[in-house]
Symmetry: C2
Subunit: 467 residues, 2 copies
C-alpha cells in the first residue's frame, strides 16, 4: 500500500534529497547523482539544479545538465529562471544551444530568446528555416505585457467541414502538449476563427456529428495587443483552460493557456504590493537574485520624494515654533497624530487599490466608497478620540484644553486620512496613473503635512495662542 505523506514531510524529504545530490556532485559521483536526480520529475529536477548552481557553481551544473537524457534536459531547462538559463547557455557550445532552443515549446523558446543578447539570438535564428524565423520575429515584437507575448502558436486547428471522427483522427495525428489539446479551434476557408470546440464535446458526441453543430461560436477571445492583466481577468471570470488570441482581421494567431495565466496573476499582485510599499521594480528579477544597486535604484526614488515632502512638513512645524515652544508637551502627541493619519490612510488605500485591481470596485463606485469611508472614519475617529482624551486627562494628567486639542485633531485627521486614502487611488486611476502608486509613501507624505498643520492650527485656536 502506498502511504500518503504529509506535505511537510514531502518538502523535508525533497530538501534532504537535494542536499544529498549536491554532496554526490561535490564528490564527483556524477552517475550516482544523475540516478538520484532522475527519480524526480522535470519541475523538481529544475529546482534541484538551481540549488546546485547556487552552491557548486556553473561547471558542475553543466556537467550534470549534459548527462540528463536529451528530452528531460530540454524540459528542465524550460523551468529554470532566466538567469540560470543564460548561465547554462554561456557554458555550453553554440551547437548545443541551437538544439536546446529549437526543441523548446514555442512559447518557452520566445521567453528564452527575449532574455538573450541580440548577437546570440541572431546566431540561433541563422539556422532556423525562414518561415519559422519570421514567426519568431513577430512574436519577439509583441509588447512584453501583451496577450501576444503570452500566447503560443501551437494549437489544434480544425476545418469547419470536419465531423467528430475526422476531428479526433486529426488530433491523434498532430499530438500536441497537454495544456493545448483540450480546446480546438475551428477555422473557415479564410483563416478566420469561426468557433471553438472542446475535446470533451468531440468525445461525448456521436462520431458523425459535424463539428459546426457542437462548436461554440459565441466564444470569448482576446486581441493580440490586449494587456495581460485584462487577459487574466477573463480567465478568472470565465474559468477557461485556454483562450484564443485574434488579430485585427479576427484571424486566430495563437492561444493562451491557463498555466501561463497563474504566473500573470501572481506577478500583477507582486507588482501591486511593491508599488504600494514604494518600491519601483519594473523587472521580474526575484529579490535574492537582484543586485544591491538595483535594489537601491528601485527604492530610492520614493525615499527622496518622501524626504522632500517631510522637509516641507518640518518647515511647516518651524512656522509654528511659537505654539510649540509655549506648550512643549504638544510635541509628544505629534507622532501619535501623524502616525494615525498615515495608518488610516494606508488601510483605506490598500483596500480600495486591491478592490480596483481585482475588478470589484470601479470608477462609478466613487460615491459609494466615499460615503462608506466617511462613515467608517466617523466611528473610528470618535473611538480613538475618546480613548486619547481620557488617557491624556487621566494618565498624563494634562489640562482639559490639551486633551481637547488632541481629540479634535484626531477626529479631523482620521476623517482626512480616510478620504485621502480612498480618493487618491481612484483619482489616479481616473487620470491614467496606476492606483498602486498612491499607497503608503504618497499617503504618508500628504497626510503628514496636513496632519501637522491641522494639529498646530487647532492647538492655536483651542489654546488661544495668537500666531
Amino acid at each position: 500500500m502506498i502511504e500518503s505523506m504529509e506535505m511537510d514531510e514531502r518538502i523535508q524529504q525533497f530538501e534532504e534529497d537535494t542536499e544529498h545530490i549536491i554532496e554526490l556532485l561535490d564528490n564527483r559521483s556524477y552517475f550516482k547523482a544523475k540516478e538520484e536526480l532522475l527519480k524526480y520529475n522535470e519541475v523538481d529536477i529544475g529546482e534541484i539544479l538551481e540549488e546546485v548552481l547556487e552552491q557548486l557553481g556553473i561547471e558542475k551544473t553543466i556537467i550534470i545538465f549534459r548527462m540528463l537524457p536529451k528530452d528531460v534536459s530540454v524540459e528542465v531547462f524550460s523551468y529554470l529562471p532566466s538567469d540560470d538559463q543564460l548561465a547554462i547557455i554561456d557554458g555550453i557550445t553554440d551547437r548545443e544551444t541551437s538544439y536546446l532552443i529549437n526543441e523548446l515549446d514555442f512559447d518557452d523558446m520566445i521567453d528564452v530568446l527575449e532574455e538573450l543578447p541580440a548577437n546570440i539570438v541572431d546566431k540561433i535564428l541563422e539556422k532556423t528555416p525562414k518561415e519559422e524565423r519570421k514567426l519568431i520575429n513577430t512574436f519577439l515584437n509583441y509588447p512584453e505585457t501583451s496577450a501576444g507575448s503570452l500566447m503560443t502558436p501551437d494549437y489544434i486547428a480544425l476545418k469547419s467541414g470536419m465531423n467528430c471522427r475526422e476531428a479526433l483522427a486529426h488530433i491523434k495525428k498532430v499530438g500536441m502538449d497537454t495544456e493545448t489539446i483540450y480546446t480546438c479551434y475551428v477555422k473557415g476557408s479564410t483563416r478566420e476563427l469561426e468557433g471553438i470546440v472542446s475535446l470533451r464535446a468531440l468525445i461525448i458526441s456521436d462520431e458523425e456529428t459535424p463539428i459546426t453543430e457542437i462548436m461554440n461560436d459565441e466564444y470569448v477571445y482576446v486581441n493580440v495587443y490586449d494587456d495581460q492583466e485584462e487577459v487574466a481577468e477573463m480567465f478568472k471570470k470565465y474559468g477557461f483552460l485556454a483562450i484564443p488570441v485574434v488579430d485585427k482581421e479576427h484571424k486566430l494567431v495563437g492561444i493562451i493557456t491557463v498555466d501561463d495565466i497563474m504566473d500573470v496573476i501572481e506577478e500583477e499582485a507582486t507588482e501591486d504590493i511593491e508599488r504600494m510599499a514604494g518600491v519601483m521594480d519594473d523587472s521580474d528579477t526575484e529579490y535574492l537574485d537582484m543586485g544591491v544597486f538595483r535594489h537601491v535604484r528601485n527604492r530610492l526614488p520614493w525615499l527622496l520624494f518622501m524626504t522632500v515632502t517631510l522637509m516641507i512638513t518640518g518647515f511647516i512645524l518651524t512656522k509654528f515654533e511659537l505654539v510649540l515652544s509655549q506648550v512643549i508637551v504638544l510635541v509628544s502627541y505629534l507622532p501619535l497624530l501623524m502616525g494615525t493619519g498615515g495608518n488610516v490612510g494606508t488601510q483605506a488605500a490598500s483596500l480600495v487599490i486591491r478592490g480596483m485591481s481585482i475588478g470589484e470596485i470601479d470608477m462609478k463606485d466613487v460615491l459609494r466608497v466615499l460615503w462608506k469611508e466617511f462613515r467608517i472614519s466617523i466611528v473610528l475617529g470618535v473611538t480613538l478620540s475618546l480613548f486619547n482624551f481620557a488617557k491624556i486627562l487621566i494618565i498624563d494628567g494634562e489640562s482639559i484644553l490639551i486633551a481637547l486639542t488632541v481629540a479634535i485633531s484626531m477626529i479631523t485627521i482620521v476623517a482626512f486620512g480616510k478620504l485621502l486614502g480612498s480618493m487618491l487611488p481612484m483619482g489616479a486611476k481616473r487620470i491614467g496613473i496606476d492606483p498602486a502608486l498612491m499607497a503608503t509613501p504618497m499617503i504618508q507624505s500628504i497626510s503628514d503635512m496636513v496632519s501637522s498643520t491641522l494639529y498646530m492650527l487647532i492647538a492655536a485656536v483651542v489654546l488661544g495662542i495668537t500666531l
Copy 2:
C-alpha cells in the same frame, strides 16, 4: 467577416447592454429583457443580475431569474456572490431552492450550503438520499481553507484493468464537466489511487493499449487537510489542470481543478495586502458589500495598537524635553527621520513578505537577506544623509552640528529600519505567525520608537547637552 472588437469597446458595450436590460426591467418589459439577457453567456448573465439586484431590488431580480431556462438559471446562480445567492434563496419557494441546490455541481453546492443558515441546510438535506447526505456532511466538515473544501468528488475513475478503448467508452458514458474530464484517475481493487492518465494520452495511444502502460504512477497529490495555499503552490509549480486529493489511506476522495485555484491565488494575495496594511479581515466579503461596523472592526485593532505604541513614542519624547526645548529646531527634522525609518522598513518588509509568500525566500536565506539589506541600507543611508546634510547647511542655514546630528541619525535609522523590516517577518514565520502581520503598522510603531530615541540620544551627544 467578424470584426474583432477592442477590449475597451467590448466592456463599454457590455455596460450599455446592462443599462438597457435594467431599463427594460424597470419598465416591466420582462420578455424583451429576457431575450436581451440570453444573448450573453451564464457568467455575464450573472454579472448583469448582480447589477439588477443592486439597482432594482430583489423582487424584479427573482422575476427575471425565474424566467430563465432551468439549466441556465442553475449555472447563473453558481456564479453569483454568496450574498446575492442568499437573497435569491430567501425569495423563492423551498421547492425551487431544493431543485436549484441539487442541480448545482457538487463543489458549487457545498459552497452555497456553507453560507446558508443551518435550518435551511437541514431542510434541503432532508430530501437528499442518505448516501449523498453523508458525503455532503463530510465535505461541509472540512476546514474552510483546506484542500478538502476546494475539491469536488466528480472525477472520472478508471479501473486499472481497462484499455484505452474501454476507458474512452467509459468517459463517453459518464460525460462530466469540462474542467474535470481531462485527467482520469486509475484505481485498483481497493479504492487506492494507482495512477493518473490524461485524456490526451488516451486519445493519442493505440486503442488496445492497457491504461496501466500509459498512466503516470509518480503523480503529484495533496492530502485532504493540506492548506489551500500549499495546494496553490503545487499548481503554480507544476502547471497542472487538476490534482488528486487523497486521505490518510491514500484513497482518492476528490480532485481540485485549476479554475478554483485561481481564486485561491487571488484571495491569498488580497489577504497578504490587507494584513500588510493593518486590516484584519477574516472573511471573503468584498469591500463594497461589507458593513461600516465590520470595516471598523477590521481596522480598529491595529489602530489601537498603534495608538499605544505612539503614546510610548510621545512619552519617550517628553523625557527629552530638555533637549527639545533647548534646540527647538530639532523638532522640525523629527517627521523626516521617523517617516524615513518607517518607509525603509516598510519597503524591506513588503519585499521579504512577498518573497516568502511566493516561495522565493525561505528560512535558510536569512543570512543572505540580512547581508543584502545591510548593504542596501548603507548605500541608501549615505545618499540620504549627504542630501539632508547639504540641505540643512545650505538651504536651512542651520549650524554644522545640527546638520551632523540629522545626518548621523539618518544613517543609523535607515540601517535599523532595513534590518527591522527584513528580519521581523522572517522571525514571525520562524515562530509560526503570519509574516504579513509584520508589515506597515508593526514596522512603523517599532521604528518610530527607536528612531525618536536614537535621534534624541545622538542630538544630546553631538550638541553636548547633558540629559
